[in-house]
Symmetry: C2
């Protein structure tokens, strides 16, 4: 006998939790589709030489390799042939480059699959987790209006997920780099300063200022103060965001381009009817160093800043330089759903009460079995999710079972109901019980489900 | 530059194909849920010592092992810590045993995930493929009525998938073993004979008869003929199935139990309203040797017998003997969707024409952009999937784009429409074009989509 157990670092859910998780996946998918994104799925493993094109780094240290039994026995030199994907971006790059001539550009794809990273095992860190990504990929060029559509998608996702008030915050890498230029910070010093400013949340302003003016950077105190005060810019409302961007004044060409792009994004969000409480500029957002080149996004839950960004992304210049000579600029976001789900459970925000089953068709006597089957099929025909009780039990035990399983409705059809052409329905959530005509059973339940939902 | 390519033996789809595949997945899931099955997902990898409890065999030879970079460098002795799942049954056994005290029995679960096998690379054989499984697991006992519900699920799945007429065929291991007993074939000889009869389709009757009466088996010609004539029993219609089972007469206790169980299944399917053309008994079905102990199912497409069984399964005595002292009898089926999808495409049965996007909101002039955004949001609010054209183009080019992308409707709102409070809608599938009030746009499109669907 072997002790049944999962490997460390994975999140395996009980059915009721899985239902809640599945609902989130479905909501995200429906929202992505409502914005015209097309589904893509890629294999869990890629060829190692294809996956690991970039020179090593933290990510590559975390890669899982895959070997068949035969390959394992041969113990060949070099890397194993296959490796598990560690994100959905590299597979997207490979996919777009491989199928470039079969795709229409701008190519709008969503992908919601698990990715794998050999993280150090600790609470809330997962080695297997879902990413839910969208990207719009252009060929040669990509209209900046796509950048401004992305926050509208983020808005729709989190409105529908209904996990609390949230704010989509954005910044622009050109604004940042242009601002640095204006202060005489150029070339690779920009990256070093960016990396330092990215630590503001963790280290605080005083510590970062000390580093920036210290031996490593030797920035003048005045320059450091300007950097910090720039990083402090956050807007509250649409007009305030426009005012704060205007107040930045004129700068280098790059600076002005970034600022104008943010203004255009703000106006487009307004035209799409996104409530102004849901978006803001936040000039402290940097997000990585070498990947993003334009707008960058982060999304936070207003009541839970400790969770950090729940949906991030941005604009990049070239998706697939390792695989294709074509220039493929793009913009996209990612939701790390496994971690988010775990955090929402920890914060008590997710309700895992309801079952996916709508109705339990009960059974009081052997004589009723054929009718119970027919009733179940009738309710299924009406679009309901139905479990049939296979053996007769006392009515109280059947109600108890439904209640514990989170099944909201119980339907019973005994001799009396059959003679009268009726069915007894009970709504466990309200306690309401009623005898209704057989024809009306589906509608009776449906109305109550829809009432709940609205 | 590295050539972008997928590993051999995986099926990666273009978006339009992926949409067709996703629709099948959704249909299967909705059907499983309509019968009250609950979702389970397990990690792609299991601990090797947990996954590989059984003594080696063909399956174990095909296992993929997983190693982190660190573990790879250490080159330790013994098996790597992790291995990819090769089916959903072993993970189910581990799951049920691990979470036994948190689950309600009978436990009805569905699981639709990819599994991995290091198959020899050949056309139509996949190393990564979806399995879509349901199982009902009892604790100590499981009412045989669950066995009879499974074909009703199979029926609903393939009716909804609408890939052609099909027949769910079943047999019963007790009937088979009881019949062998009656012929004096007992113990491990039963398994050897079963294995031989399983080859009937491939080898033909004459060859199998020769083997059964040859040196290895030394069965009398008369006994071999009885086996072959038993294997030939197939029913056409409900009454015929009952008659053929009755005509088998009385046998050993086991034989009679198997026969009675099949009769009960037939009656239950009738009570559920399953059309009698959709199910049949087929006494040649054996399905594996050591796993199934009761009813066994196969499903075939009437017009495509060459595809073989598209949904198979059966009843087993004990799911998790390796992981738990509890006796966990169960019944289940599996659909190998990746291979099925591939076969349906090969046979020209699957239509990959339509996009998941319902409407392209076109753009004729820069002045219309804000209105195009607002219109897109309005249509999304009505539940439609909408792509917005981001840059103005000639109307003919926009129709052409929608047509090529498989998007059925185009919506346009220029200056004239804005002044009149209308929108111009075109249905590319019928050529119908109409100017309708803005308020009625969603309904206009919805009606046509629903008309198509019905």
């Amino acid at each position: 006998m072997i002790k049944p157990r999962t490997p460390p670092g994975v999140m395996e859910l009980l059915p009721r939790e899985q239902i809640a998780f599945q609902r989130m996946l479905d909501t995200i998918r429906e929202t992505y589709e409502s914005f015209g994104f097309l589904p893509v799925e890629t294999p869990v493993f890629e060829l190692s030489d294809v996956l690991l094109t970039k020179s090593g780094g933290e990510t590559e240290r975390q890669v899982y390799f895959v070997q068949s039994t035969g390959a394992l026995e041969k113990k060949g030199e070099g890397l194993p042939e296959l490796a598990l994907r560690f994100d959905l971006t590299v597979p997207l790059a490979r996919y777009v480059a491989e199928h470039e001539h079969a795709l229409a550009f701008p190519f709008r794809r969503y992908q919601m699959q698990r990715v794998y990273r050999g993280e150090r095992a600790q609470r809330g860190r997962f080695r297997e987790f879902y990413q839910c990504d969208i990207d719009v990929i252009g060929k040669d060029v990509l209209n900046p209006r796509h950048d401004a559509e992305i926050p509208a998608v983020i808005h729709a996702v989190f409105e529908r997920l209904a996990i609390g008030d949230f704010t989509i915050q954005f910044n622009h890498r050109k604004l940042l780099r242009g601002f640095f230029e204006g202060l005489g910070i150029v070339d690779e010093r920009q990256d070093r300063v960016l990396r330092e400013l990215d630590k503001l949340d963790k280290r605080g302003e005083a510590a970062v200022r000390e580093t920036l003016t210290g031996d490593g950077f030797t920035l003048a105190g005045e320059v450091a103060d300007k950097l910090l005060s720039f990083s402090r810019v956050r807007s509250a409302g649409h007009a305030d965001a426009l005012e704060k961007l205007a107040a930045l004044g004129e700068g280098t060409t790059q600076f002005n381009e970034g600022r104008d792009a943010l203004v255009a994004t703000l106006e487009q969000l307004k035209a799409m009817g996104i409530p102004e409480s849901r978006y803001a500029i936040n000039l402290s957002i940097a997000r990585g160093l070498d990947y993003y080149t334009g707008i960058v996004y982060e999304t936070t839950l207003d009541a839970h800043p400790e969770i950090g960004s729940i949906c991030s992304g941005g604009r990049y210049d070239n998706l697939a330089s390792h695989y294709s000579k074509s220039r493929l600029p793009g913009v996209g976001i990612s939701i790390g759903l496994t971690r988010l789900f775990w955090q929402l459970c920890e914060a008590g925000i997710i309700d895992v009460a309801a079952s996916s089953v709508d109705v339990l068709v009960g059974l009081l006597s052997e004589d009723d079995f054929a009718e119970a089957l027919a009733l179940s099929q009738r309710l299924r025909g009406g679009g309901l999710k139905v479990e049939t009780q296979m053996a007769p039990k006392k009515v109280a035990r059947q109600f108890q079972y439904a209640d514990r399983a989170g099944i909201r409705f119980v339907a019973l059809r005994g001799e009396g109901e059959r003679a009268a052409g009726t069915v007894t329905l009970k709504d466990l959530s309200s306690g309401e019980q009623q005898v209704v005509a057989l024809d009306e059973a589906t509608a009776w339940i449906d109305t109550r489900i829809k009432g709940e939902a609205s």
